[in-house]
Symmetry: C2
Subunit: 342 residues, 2 copies
Amino acid sequence: MREVARLAGVSVKTVSRVINGEPNVSADLVHRVQRAATQLDYHPDLGASYLRRSGRRTGIVGLMLEDVANPFSATLHRAFWDTAAARGLAVIASSLDEDPERERRIARAMIERRVDGLAVVPTGQDQSYLRSHIDAGLAVVFLDRPPVLLDADTALATNRAGAHEATRHLIRRGHRRIAFLGDLRVIATASERQEGYEQALRESGLPVDGSLIRRDLHDWESAANAVEELMRLPAGLAPTAIFASQNLVTIGAIRALHRSGLQRVVALVGFDQVELADLLDPGVTLVEYEAYNLGQTAAELLLTRIDGYRGPSRHEIVSTRLVARGSGEIGPGSQPRKRSVH
Amino acid sequence: MREVARLAGVSVKTVSRVINGEPNVSADLVHRVQRAATQLDYHPDLGASYLRRSGRRTGIVGLMLEDVANPFSATLHRAFWDTAAARGLAVIASSLDEDPERERRIARAMIERRVDGLAVVPTGQDQSYLRSHIDAGLAVVFLDRPPVLLDADTALATNRAGAHEATRHLIRRGHRRIAFLGDLRVIATASERQEGYEQALRESGLPVDGSLIRRDLHDWESAANAVEELMRLPAGLAPTAIFASQNLVTIGAIRALHRSGLQRVVALVGFDQVELADLLDPGVTLVEYEAYNLGQTAAELLLTRIDGYRGPSRHEIVSTRLVARGSGEIGPGSQPRKRSVH
DNA sequence: CTGAAAGCGCTTACAG
DNA sequence: CTGAAAGCGCTTACAG
């Protein structure tokens, strides 16, 4: 900036005014400064300007996801970015991989970079470490999963209700032995989905059978192994239906059923969106929800906090809905049928 | 920092030394400063420290992708982040959506934030606007697509060879009317793949038939429409095989073939990775490559530039490989066959 | 309408 | 081993 000022023959303050489009600069000086800036290929240093500027904004927001490569996280990311970028904010996204220690470390790095706001899909069992920063003015929102030991804005899906609906859907088809495949136990949404599953069983007078519940599955391989184990249970004890409560877990269940040729014998309802699920044979019945909505809603909550909202915490809900495609409508006594070409 | 210094009864310089782990501070002072920092919940301002520090590094790198929600881009992102984050760098990712104007705007924003390096999947037809910044020391690498009108490090896949292999695979099965489905013409990789396709046809003495070439397809819907149009061509003119040269385009082709019940009649070879492609009936034959490798390689090239490498530009290649799963092995006279349960 | 001085939070370069 | 002064690139608060 000093060089631009020298070349244009003005003070740095005048250059600053021109760059920021402030009024009260003569047209002649505006022109001279712009020419000098172009000639020197000058670009202002946003970091330096934010340092001095009142309000202490960096124009950067942090987004802490489970894994930016997971299609669900990636959609959250895109939605969040669309909303934030429209406001000129840059988004620093990172992957926590269900590691609470990394959550703390990355949160600290975000704070040291003085992000204006932080959107978190939490992984640890304690987010109280953010308390002091929130009190100091940091805008924070949680999405997909609620914070623990901390009160803050949230954007969540109806996990319990969605799992309840999935299980009820299977019960209505006559199933009495319905397996539950769950993500890591420490994940709040995994517990909620299990609660919805168990509640639906109880309401129908069915037992909650621990031998049909497999938890701590976090990738498709472990889920596929769990399904294969379940299928080796003696007839009469093995499940006739499966509720897979997360997207990668659902993919694992699909793979295991196809591998063992049981995809038209054992009913399956999954959770989240799965690409091409409709083209499989049978199509995969899923409890779906709009990850995009979730990410956008979280960004909007965060922006109002950044804009100065200081009221009580708000809790936005995104609904799930069951989409029947075939796999969830298989009855308990089904035999493989000839495939109909549609 | 001033407050920490006051509370600890030392100068800010001493606080700075302790925070940065510099040697030559008495244990007593280290202890007092650390206590004061903890008590005040002090976190250093990285932006301010980078401003003053020699070398002018911000510890931020920019990543400009087509769309962070596209599974291919998302995998590039994850790989890039893994490599960059291991070095303590923060990654600002953004989506260009094939908009050259946005590419320029976002590149400028990255430069104004003084990123240490920039990794770009370019979308416009001219990246010379980065020339002056590279000369001024900005580290730049291009991935997946080469830059235009600019010489820089690249990490690219063997697009032409992969497309050539796909087309040859279909020719060997006896196909003579092979359709080409291509992404936006302005995308370099789309052209390269088309060249590979045409070259394979010519080598086998087959005509390059414009009526079988559909370009500027960029989402699955437009690709599905293109396939449906092709299938309405009179018998003898309609293609017996399709080469879909990008992941979303491949998904569109799969959907169209399934919708019209032709998935076991018309052969299909796709490009990129498609989730669950192996479980469809028939399984989808794909020319695959490791997006993760591409992202990691690009990050490594960028890091050496950031570390001071000033030599000539380097060009890394990631190989593609054809994975046969059924759809690409259908012959030109195929009839629907009964599905074998595996 | 324009600019000289001070300062954002930190590090550099130096003196003691 | 410790600190006072200067300055990174910019904006604020003020004077003219």
